[in-house]
Subunit: 388 residues, 2 copies
């Protein structure tokens, strides 16, 4: 289907443009939406007089959430089986980034101990540290690595599973009765086997990383406790008086299409997406193997995916690339004009980098080529295509 | 043209539904967009494959701002003559609310004194107090009324002109060399005479209050200093990774239509909007007069409007209604099922309330009726229509 093209390795590095694989811009999936079957679908039409009010539903705790978006979210979770939506409040945000901050605000406002400690196990999504620090709130305080955290009292642990940057499946590590924010940005079947339905107090999801619509800035939280939900809504009300209605309309249409697409294997976004990331991972592993012991990649266990009905591995949206010698891998790749996120920003070591696996085909090809030339400066070899 | 219908006063209060004039939901202008001339215009069509990236223009300081929106903003300001856009950075936000917080973050981060004092002259837009307090930042601190502020050292004054809640034209009052954030949400010709082109370091505008598209959550800042602009962008990057592309597209189309509409008097949104708010104000003043000395309203001076080319008054988006006796006016109106914002929330007295003047026609009519029945419980009179 939407395969990954054959790639040529060239040694002409001189005029090579910069490849930015630092941010997680998920544009790889655009080809799905541009395919013959999909191109005409999911078109959103908004007349000038529509969507003018600040409000969506004044009777809802999340008064700026459109009811049709709430329904679309629940339908997709039901179709995928990745999260429980029953007896929960849905809070919509300007991306799950804003919701994570809303959750920090809610949990710390409701806590008696302030500032409340915030931790995440290393390596963590570097943005959490920024989110928890930039306004220098007296409500909470970033305390870094959850594994070495030993302050007594209440705390918040952010658990990302599969993890950004290293793709591992995670559970809380502190386990001393603190609050947990689960970030399930990547708990979708194209990235990882859906082994069970997640069922926690606060779960974050993002529209950005499902089928690639990061420009819409839509995320949602599934929240059990009404007091937490109310405080999160208070944060969003003061912070931005809610969330774009245009984006909510578009997310509704696209999430409904994703749900529908699950019924037809040849049209299924998740079948397509799984092939896409799997193929890229196989190409990357081929290149890393080829370089001998220069680079490392994590191994991921197989698990039975309830959605696909078969055993499969994890194919994360980021590669956690390491080098075997004690080198600064970010700088090494920068010399090849490849921008990545250095491991130190994720609370880890500079011999690791986080590489976006969801950029445009051309960027990914060029990245593989340049990786190979680190080991073999004059190599010219064809990287096999793992298209099924 | 788009007139205000005749209103009947009825004494049947019993089953009257609640009228919410607390928030400033600007839905009154929807009729303009639904009129025969406008109904088919400004339709936005977005296919499923479009607007997927986080980025709009990686070379721009505000990397998530669409270039066409920047152009539309500049064109409208040029057509209206209300603000200088030359040699300025445009920062787009999820409403001007988020931009105000971005500006507080930027100015305080760049200041040596922390927490930086934040003030606004009473009566002020109550949200500023919430925005400056809710996360309990150590960067800045809400200090309330600018008129009584006497701490030495740097500070930020927020100046809203025309002011929310009382519609007055304002200048800074502290004037000791601090930073000023100008909120020009209502500096548009339907609300107030455009007497000169504003030309300050930080000016905030909102898409919500021009033609009524509050649901889109689009605001912009015009910023002179690149360091301030960069810090504001940093805030928006961490807070919400930018701003909905769908909303930006729609704002672009609608702002361009507004600019175009200025050329034809019969189609001009600003002509229409001015008639609309003026008519409502005349009806409200008629009712207030009718009640003798029960209620008060501010008087606004005439001034020459460069845009309309004639002298005119201010017709604010909110009425700052007072009562002559020492009463709690918010409670008094609540007894009539009319929700307003009590003066105390704006740093003022409870004998004042802020009333949204931009709600639906029916709500505004009912509000006037109920206001009259406070003085004349059994009155049944026709409020004249001031349609030109
Ligand atoms: C783990 C994780 N959570 C949240 C986000 C942010 O998502 P959003 O675009 O919804 O703000 C990302 C984006 O890279 C992410 O990797
Ligand atoms: C003075 C003022 N500034 C800002 C805002 C918020 O505007 P936005 O919808 O762009 O967040 C309002 C809304 O009522 C306002 O009155």
């Amino acid at each position: 289907m939407f395969g990954f093209e054959n790639m040529k390795i060239s040694s002409s590095d001189a005029a090579n443009p910069v490849i930015n694989l630092d941010q997680g811009d998920p544009t790889a999936f655009q080809e799905y939406w541009m395919s013959m079957t999909m191109k005409e679908r999911c078109v959103v039409v908004i007349p000038g007089w529509d969507l003018m009010s600040y409000f969506s539903d004044k009777t809802n705790v999340c008064w700026f959430l459109r009811q049709d978006l709430a329904e679309a979210i629940k339908a997709l979770h039901r179709a995928i089986g990745n999260a429980a939506t029953e007896e929960r409040y849905i809070v919509v945000g300007n991306g799950s980034s804003q919701l994570c901050q809303a959750a920090l605000f809610a949990l710390s406002s409701l806590s008696e101990d302030k500032p409340l400690s915030i931790v995440a196990a290393v390596p963590y999504y570097s943005t959490y540290e920024e989110e928890a620090s930039y306004v220098q709130s007296q409500l909470y305080k970033w305390e870094g690595d959850a594994r070495t955290f030993n302050k007594p009292g209440p705390y918040i642990e952010i658990v990302t599973s599969p993890n950004n940057p290293d793709g591992t499946i995670r559970e809380p590590v502190v386990n001393r009765g603190g609050k947990v924010i689960y970030d399930f940005a990547y708990y979708w079947p194209h990235y990882t086997p859906i082994t069970h339905r997640q069922d926690h107090d606060i779960m974050l999801f993002t529209f950005s990383k499902i089928a690639g619509h990061a420009g819409s800035r839509i995320g949602w939280a599934l929240v059990k406790d009404i007091e937490v939900a109310k405080k999160m809504v208070q944060y969003l009300t003061i912070n931005s008086i809610g969330v774009s209605k245009e984006s909510q309309i578009r997310a509704t249409v696209i999430l409904n299409e994703l749900t529908k697409s699950c019924r037809i294997k040849s049209e299924s976004f998740f079948e397509y997406g799984n092939e896409k990331v799997k193929t890229r991972w196989e190409s990357l592993r081929w290149v890393v193997d080829k370089t001998g012991d220069t680079f490392t990649l994590p191994d991921y266990p197989q698990a039975f995916c309830n959605f696909f009905g078969k055993s499969s591995s994890t194919y994360p949206a980021f590669a956690w690339l390491g080098c075997n010698e004690d080198k600064d891998l970010e700088s090494l790749l920068k010399e090849k004009y490849v921008l990545t996120r250095g491991g130190e920003r994720c609370g880890s070591d500079k011999k690791y980098v986080r590489v976006n696996m969801l950029g445009p085909n051309k960027d990914f090809e060029d990245f593989l080529n340049r990786l190979l030339t680190i080991k073999y400066p004059n190599c010219f070899e064809e990287i096999p295509c793992f298209e099924p």
